[in-house]
């Protein structure tokens, strides 16, 4: 039991129904291996992702949140993905205020034909969040960053 257990992050993915969810489905149907850490929630459009949903996910203990929608210009609802992009951009600033590393929130464009991209993003993001470590909401980002630098110098 002394052996250190690898940290398995919990990541919530909000996938739009028309592109990213279909892309995830394609990855599954094509039997592509991807990290099981990503737990997906289907929404009709990435524009449906309310910032409070993301904050709630972090509050409930998610270590990372992925928002995935159609490529710009491909939105089934014309421009929902642009709205998602604006929200995510602003939300990242808010996350900093909350002491959450903004890298824990990721926005990706995954089309229905990009099963392979979905698998890649899931794996990449899982590794990225794993490197960031478990989310500890009490810590301020500055407090996290400073000691790390000193460690490197030492």
């Amino acid at each position: 039991m002394n052996q250190q257990q690898r940290f398995e992050p919990r990541i919530v993915g909000f996938l739009c129904n028309w592109c990213s969810y279909t892309g995830a489905d394609l990855a599954g149907v094509s039997r592509m291996k991807s990290a099981p850490n990503l737990r997906t929630i289907r929404v009709m459009c990435s524009g449906r992702v309310d910032p409070t949903l993301v904050l709630r996910a972090f509050q409930l203990g998610a270590d990372g949140v992925l928002v995935a929608g159609c490529h710009p210009g491909d939105c089934h609802y014309q421009e929902g993905n642009y709205k998602a992009m604006r929200r995510v951009l602003l939300l990242k600033r808010v996350l900093r205020e909350f002491g959450i590393d903004e890298r824990r929130l990721r926005l990706e464009w995954i089309s229905a034909s990009e099963g392979e991209k979905f698998a890649r993003v899931a794996n990449e993001f899982t590794e990225q969040v794993r490197a960031l470590g478990p989310l500890q909401l009490e810590e301020a980002p500055a407090a996290v960053a400073e000691p790390q630098l000193e460690e490197v110098r030492a």
Partner: protein
């Protein structure tokens, strides 16, 4: 009106009519040479000489350019006229003895041998007889003025300016068309080694596309029509009695309101010249499947016969499958139709050139449909060679006189485990079916998704193969993926039936996923109004609230996420449901 007498027949003609026109109207024959109905009369050859009675004696005039006068008395066949014409023909005969049209005129006037000897004698049967029809049509009809004549008298000559290639020439071929001797020649450039019949040449500037064209009406090819080059010509407008020719016609954009759309935009063929090792566009006698399909067609350029570029039937034909399909470098998918049409080609070539050897080079033989496997074995029994292996390259066989024009196919025969070189003189490439080059634009336009291979994505491959992710949009045929005719017909019928079913029902069933505003919570801030891509949210001024028109709402949920008061519920994806989902997902570590 002017009244006159020709050969004793009285007639009335309009002012400005020439004697020739009046005579032709009365069906009195007058021979002509330099005259052409499209051109202004010129009076150069003097063959059309006729006799006009004058107060004192008579006068010989050229009929083509002499206008009729009141009370004219004209004789077209007197001794004087015959004598005059005879001398004219005799002089021509002396200079151009072998030109058929001169010989014909000589026979008409009963001349066997000219008395004169011309120092400009030209033995060629297609010599220029200086009628100058070519120069005149180029100026008067075409409007290009690319050719003219130099010098005078017997030294006159039809030339281009400075004897150089004329920049003004539009390569219309009108000069060759009106040339009575064939001296003017028009040779369209050969293109990519295809038989010239594959070209849309200038003599087909107006043509019916194919005998099966729908609607079966002629069209004008703007590329070769003279009118679009010089603004002249318009001869077709003059001759069309129905007044149906209209050069002003252009493409129109029409707006049509519809409830459902079937996207059946078809496919493009893989450009075989991209695979340089197969020599398409570089070597002669290499064709794509569609070229051969045209050649095999009974209305095609060869009347359905298989011919090499030199007009001979081939001795050996190689058919290469999977050009650009099932290939990591180009398209990974199978184009599905090639195996069967390649076998059909083999069968038809065997039928039309029984002496020819036919080789099929395949990776796997995919005879998947009803009756296909039987056809495959039938073709095998006809003596068609099938070689399992991908062709490495097609090269020119050699440079000796014997081998000239033949091709060599280098391939691996995986069934005997050997490299082989097979000499053929015709190669047919079965190039891949690929998505239309504007598929991305069409997909954007309709909000369609595309599968990784680029074809339009159906809603579900098994449960909903003709619908798309957008309501009221259906796909059929190769736009959705490569397929053969039976499959396309089946899919198109299914799509049509699906659309008709919707119409017959009279009502449209909609997804219950949509938004609703709780008017008690709504503060009337109107944030949602501007966000809705469908303008489904209206603002009720009297109540100071917004309301969703549920017939227009598609349920994207953008407004739900944006409402600062949380007054909007997105059915199917409400905050409550999504929060519950989140809690469930994150309950387990």
């Amino acid at each position: 009106m002017i009244s006159l007498t020709i050969n004793g027949t009285r007639t009335e003609v309009r002012e400005g009519t020439t004697i020739l026109q009046a005579a032709r109207f009365l069906e009195i024959p007058i021979p002509t040479l330099c005259y052409h109905p499209w051109l202004k009369p010129f009076g150069a050859c003097r063959i059309c000489t006729v006799q006009v009675q004058r107060p004192r004696g008579y006068e010989l005039v050229t009929a083509c350019n002499t206008p009729c006068e009141e009370g004219m008395v004209i004789q077209t066949d007197t001794d004087h006229v015959r004598q005059a014409r005879r001398v004219v023909v005799e002089l021509m005969m002396a200079r151009w003895p072998n030109v058929p049209i001169v010989q014909k005129l000589a026979a008409e006037v009963g001349l066997e041998k000219p008395r004169f000897i011309s120092e400009m004698r030209d033995e060629a049967p297609d010599a220029c007889i200086l009628c100058l029809r070519c120069v005149r049509i180029c100026e008067e009809v075409v409007g290009a003025c690319a050719i003219g004549y130099e010098d005078r008298g017997i030294k006159r000559k039809v030339v281009t300016p400075f004897h150089e290639e004329s920049e003004a020439c539009v390569a219309c071929g009108a000069c060759a068309h009106v040339c009575p001797t064939g001296h003017m020649k028009f040779e369209p450039e050969d293109y990519r080694g295809k038989p010239p019949e594959f070209l849309l040449g200038p003599n087909t500037a107006i043509h019916v596309m194919t005998p099966q064209a729908v609607p079966k009406v002629p069209r004008i090819d703007r590329e070769s029509c003279i009118h679009f080059k010089t603004n002249g010509c318009q001869k077709c407008v003059e001759v069309c009695e129905a007044k149906a020719v209209n050069h002003e016609m252009t493409d129109q954009e029409l707006e049509i309101e519809v409830g459902q759309i079937l996207v059946a935009t078809g496919y493009d063929l893989f450009d075989a010249s991209v695979m340089a090792q197969y020599g398409y566009g570089r070597l002669d006698n290499i064709y794509t499947a569609l070229d051969i399909e045209r050649m095999l067609n009974a209305t095609g350029p060869t009347g359905g016969q298989i011919r090499l570029k030199n007009g001979q039937p081939p001795r050996a034909v190689g058919i290469i499958h999977c050009v650009g399909s099932r290939d990591e470098n180009y398209h990974r998918y199978c184009s599905r139709v090639c195996c069967m049409y390649a076998l059909k080609f083999a069968h038809l070539i065997k039928e039309r050139c029984p002496e020819a050897e036919v080789y099929n080079f395949y990776i796997d033989m995919r005879a998947f449909g009803k009756g296909y496997e039987e056809f495959y074995s039938r073709v095998l029994h006809e003596g068609v060679n099938v070689i399992r292996g991908k062709v490495a390259e097609v090269v020119q066989a050699g440079w000796s006189k014997q081998e000239e024009g033949t091709l060599l196919i280098r391939c691996e025969d995986t069934l005997i485990g050997k490299l082989r070189e097979i000499p053929v003189d015709m190669v047919i490439l079965c190039n891949a079916i690929e998505p239309r080059r504007d598929a991305e634009r069409v997909a954007r336009l309709f909000g369609l998704s595309r599968s990784p291979d680029g074809f339009f994505l159906e809603r579900h491959p098994k449960l909903d193969p003709v619908a798309t992710s957008s309501d009221g949009l259906f796909v059929a045929g190769c736009a959705q993926g490569p397929k053969d005719i039976p499959d396309t017909v089946a899919q198109a019928s299914a799509a049509a039936a699906r659309m008709l079913a919707t119409i017959a029902k009279g009502v449209v069933e909609m997804d219950p996923v949509r938004a609703e505003i709780n008017e008690e919570y709504c503060s009337g801030c109107r944030v949602c109004n501007a966000l809705c891509p469908y303008e489904a949210i209206e603002y009720l001024e009297d109540k100071n609230v917004s309301r969703v028109n549920s017939a227009l709402c598609k349920g994207c949920g953008t407004c739900v996420a944006a409402c600062p008061a949380g007054a909007i519920t997105g059915y199917g994806f409400s905050d409550l449901q999504l929060h519950a989902e989140l809690e469930g997902l994150l309950a387990v570590r």
